[in-house]
């Protein structure tokens, strides 16, 4: 960033996404010839390009502003923690899809997107896991009979 970057012309795009943008999105289609071999890539690239301005993004921006200390300290005491927690699952998952190569199956990519939802679902489960542990410690006898029955 500090060193000035040269804008030398590269003979070809380096990233797979940029290659596909040219050869897959933009070539002329003669559909009698296009075989199912392509379909996997097509689904993959569609998935990889799903970008939604989500709550995750907004919170990431808000946190960036927050880090700049623009607001009274007492007001933001609880904010970074809250945002970190909410972001943990979300922020990373979009890049996973975009970085996936063609060799990954479409379903793998799809599941990496679903993975975000799964993680969100897991959070409450973790909470529940912790909570019953406390309850179990406080009232150990209450659970045991049920366990023995089964």
């Amino acid at each position: 960033m500090t060193a000035m970057q040269s804008a030398n012309r590269a003979p070809r795009p380096s990233s797979l996404a940029d290659v596909l943008e040219i050869v897959l999105d933009k070539g002329i289609v003669i559909d009698a010839y296009v075989r199912l071999a392509v379909v996997g890539i097509e689904i993959l690239t569609l998935d990889a390009r799903i970008v939604i301005a989500s709550v995750d993004t907004y919170l990431r921006f808000a946190e960036a502003v927050n880090r700049l200390d623009l607001q009274p300290q007492e007001q933001v005491a609880g904010l970074p923690g809250l945002m970190n927690e909410l972001q943990e699952s979300g922020a990373k998952r979009k890049t996973r899809g975009a970085l996936a190569g063609v060799r990954d199956t479409a379903s793998e990519v799809a599941s990496s997107f679903r993975g975000g939802e799964d993680e969100e679902e897991e959070e409450p489960v973790e909470e529940r896991r912790r909570a019953p542990a406390k309850r179990a410690a406080a009232r150990p006898r209450r659970r045991r009979p049920a366990d023995e029955e089964s």
Partner: protein, 254 residues
């Protein structure tokens, strides 16, 4: 089975400098019909398109472009045999293909991408009025601030993109966005330019100048590429013989 890369002006034989898809050193050769030819190579029956194939396809198109205009076919275009390729591709719309090749003669596609550093951009935004401020330290306020930042980021990047385009557009015959700024996560610029070969060096200098003027921007500059973003096809040349209803409305499409 024949893999088809693109349509070029009539020529015979093979091009030893080109390496096709499917297996190492697959020879790229030409099937001619009238004034046009298809660049093809033989592929194995179990051919599957993978990343290497996508890169090889593009590399063949770039190599063909050295020798004249190219109409790129979509990745994965496959014919049963030479007669099939001639009948279905070259003889499907020979006049239009030849005319299109003429219109692309002497023109190449260049891509200019620009990205900023998100943290720096947000810092710049936050330093200027109106400042996004937190009313409370809760989720709702966080989202509201993030929304403000996102819209300011979009405006900031759009103005950078406009400034860059003002310098580059006059040097291009045509230009088109490859993606546009819709959200706060979208980059500053993804653009394709159709440029006369003779103007490429001026374009080079201008891109270098832009990079010098905007040192915080990371600029990627790629080309010369086949004019994939500028091969618009008139739907009227669609051929009637359309037996496969699966893929849509016409023989020719995007």
């Amino acid at each position: 089975m024949l893999y088809v890369y693109g349509v070029v002006r009539a020529r015979d034989g093979a091009d030893p400098d080109l390496e096709g898809v499917g297996h190492a050193r697959a020879e790229v050769r030409f099937l001619t019909s009238g004034s046009i030819a298809a660049a093809v190579s033989t592929i194995p029956e179990n051919f599957v398109i993978d990343e290497d194939a996508a890169r090889a396809h593009l590399q063949v198109l770039i190599g063909l472009l050295d020798q004249g205009p190219v109409i790129p076919l979509r990745l994965g275009t496959i014919g049963e045999d030479e007669n099939g390729v001639r009948a279905e591709i070259l003889d499907a719309a020979p006049a239009e293909l030849a005319q299109r090749l003429d219109s692309l003669d002497g023109l190449v596609e260049l891509h200019v991408d620009a990205d900023d550093d998100e943290a720096e951009a947000i810092a710049a935004i936050a330093a200027a009025a109106p400042r996004p401020t937190f009313e409370r330290f809760d989720l709702e306020s966080g989202i509201a601030v993030g929304e403000q930042v996102a819209s300011l980021l979009i405006a900031h990047r759009q103005s950078l993109a406009d400034a860059i385009l003002r310098q580059l557009q006059p040097l291009a015959v045509r230009d088109t966005p490859r993606s546009v700024i819709n959200t706060g996560e979208d980059p500053v610029l993804r653009w394709a330019f159709l440029v006369q070969v003779d103007d490429v060096s001026r374009f080079d200098e201008t891109v270098m100048g832009i990079q010098a003027n905007y040192p915080s921007l990371s600029i990627r500059y790629v080309g010369p590429l086949p004019a994939a973003h500028f091969v618009d096809w008139d739907a009227s040349i669609t051929q009637e013989q359309h037996t496969d209803s699966f893929t849509g409305s016409g023989k020719w499409g995007w």
